[in-house]
Amino acid sequence: MNRFAGRRNRKIVIQLFRAVGGTGFPAARTISTNPMRGIAMKTIHPKITEVLTGTFKVPAHEVLPESTMDSLEMDSLAVAEFAVIIKETLGVDADSEKLYKDATLADISAYIDEAVGSTAAEATVPVSNTR
């Protein structure tokens, strides 16, 4: 059973800060975060895959759109570190506990894409239901 089933279609309001134009002042934005949206995209931002497999040694075959940080055994410290790396490399600032801890990788990808306003190519990975 999908762990987000009870929260499907719920709107979570988050504060996503992004440095704008090098001024150092964050711009607060509200983002709709339907947890299922990312899975429908079946995509994971390549930076997420790179950080999870490189820094956190998550096996590549476990990096799936429907995976969550929890399912990948990423504890709160690891998720906070993940958030710092994302901030440092992509400029996407977020409260790791609110944004990353329970979301799927597809959701996080969607957040990041929206935050960076990027249409950069994403790595498409197969969705597996065999775990």
């Binding site: 956190f56 998550v58 055994e73 990423m74 410290l77 690891a78 906070a80 570190e81 901030k87 440092e88």
Partner: protein
């Protein structure tokens, strides 16, 4: 107080010449230093060292937790795993409440702290790691080993600079003697081959200046020695009360027969010129072991290749062991592994006892004239060794000596 015999039942090492005990032993026996120019030290006054290479530490550590560990913590964890496996123990089946972890270090996570300081200065607080404190505090080797091995007994992180390894083994032995644990995972670890630390050693005058091939620069007891060559690594041992180890069918590599410690209380970096306080540590270890000086078959010297340190130790050895037992100094091969050095050298002393082989002092043809010591030079010397002593003398004047013997 009558002490129970304490056995070393497991040994793990990771050093500049090997990622395991066996490969380290082979490298030290060969007597060739791997010291080389380190690209990360470009621009430093001392840009060379003996480093652990040829291993992906994060892959070797595995799991999701390597990101929160400094390099020296990874060394300790890998060595501890080897030691526990060598002892024939399985953390899944032991009573973790009776397992202690005692792992020393000298500079701890100074590399991690420096990295975070740079990030803070250059990019602000949000660029610093949430694990920054964990990368800094020196108890993390003991803590991560305890976490990995479900060891819920007492854990400690002794710091006596370059004596930390021997101090850790000595403290662990005491804990077993006092019944505070049944198994002790003990040793030391260090990794400070980074620009701030290397610059500090260069400016202190302790480091050998670059002069030709870095692999030839650490020359313990040579007349033309010029200073320390930095090393890094870890050695971890499993200690148990010998009778209990025997009862579970474990074979001991060696026994810790005695230990002694003193403090020069003289100068932070210079040994007391008389060497008498360091000599007192030797005497204390021999007394603890119940040995006479002439019982010592071999001395594993601190031998850093500094002009004053080696002169003081050579004179000490000449006085303390007038029967001239053969002397080696592993730093010629490994460089000075700082806080880990004492544990690594104690481990090598155990291997000497087990194999009846004393490794040569690298880069040494003969000791400085006037040093009345029998240095093993050029090739390993095969000779039965039943009782041996390993010296460690740290910055701050902290002296620690351990006496080891056949089971």
């Amino acid at each position: 107080m009558k002490r129970p015999a304490i056995a070393v039942t497991g040994l793990g090492m990771i050093t500049p010449v090997g990622h395991t005990t066996d490969t380290t032993w082979d490298g030290v026996r060969a007597g060739v230093s791997p010291a080389r120019t380190v690209p990360e030290l470009q621009g430093c006054a001392v840009d060379f060292a003996c480093t652990v290479s040829g291993i992906d530490l994060d892959d070797a550590v595995g799991g999701r937790s390597a990101f929160r560990m400094g390099r020296y913590v990874k060394f300790a964890l890998l060595a501890a795993r080897e030691a526990v496996a060598d002892a024939g123990l399985d953390p899944a089946h032991w009573d973790g409440a009776r397992v202690a972890v005692v792992v020393g270090t000298s500079s701890g996570g100074s590399a991690g702290l420096t990295e975070q300081a740079v990030a803070l200065e250059r990019r602000g607080p949000e660029a610093t790691s949430p694990s920054g404190i964990l990368l800094t505090i020196p108890n993390m080797p003991a803590a991560e080993i305890a976490i990995a091995m479900k060891a819920t007994g007492p854990s400690l992180a002794p710091c006596t600079a370059c004596s930390s390894g021997v101090t850790a083994l000595s403290v662990a032995r005491d804990m077993l003697t006092l019944g505070q644990c049944d198994i002790a995972i003990a040793g030391a670890t260090e990794s400070i081959v980074f620009p701030v630390a290397m610059t500090g050693f260069a400016r202190s005058g302790a480091a050998a200046p670059r002069d030709g091939d870095p692999a030839r620069l650490c020359r313990p007891f040579a007349a033309d020695r010029t200073g320390i060559v930095m090393g890094e690594g870890a050695a971890i041992m499993v200690l148990e009360r010998a009778d209990e180890a025997r009862a579970r069918g474990a074979s001991a590599r060696a026994l810790i027969a005695g230990a002694g410690a003193t403090t020069d209380a003289h100068h932070p970096t210079s040994p007391h010129p008389s060497g008498e306080v360091a000599r007192a540590a030797v005497d204390a270890a021999l007394h603890d072991a119940g040995w006479r000086a002439e019982d010592v078959d071999h001395v594993n010297a601190h031998g850093t290749s500094t002009p004053q340190g080696d002169a003081t130790e050579a004179a000490l050895i000449g006085r303390a062991y007038p029967h001239r037992p053969p002397v080696t100094a592993p730093k010629g091969v490994l460089g000075h592994c700082m806080g880990a050095a004492g544990a690594i050298e104690a481990g090598l002393t155990i291997l000497t006892i087990q194999h009846g082989v004393i490794p040569p002092i690298a880069n040494l043809d003969a000791p400085e004239p006037g040093f009345a010591i029998d240095c093993v030079t050029k090739t390993a010397r095969e000779v039965p060794v039943r009782r041996a002593v390993s010296h460690s003398f740290g910055f701050g004047g902290q002296n620690a000596v351990i006496a080891l013997q056949t089971p």
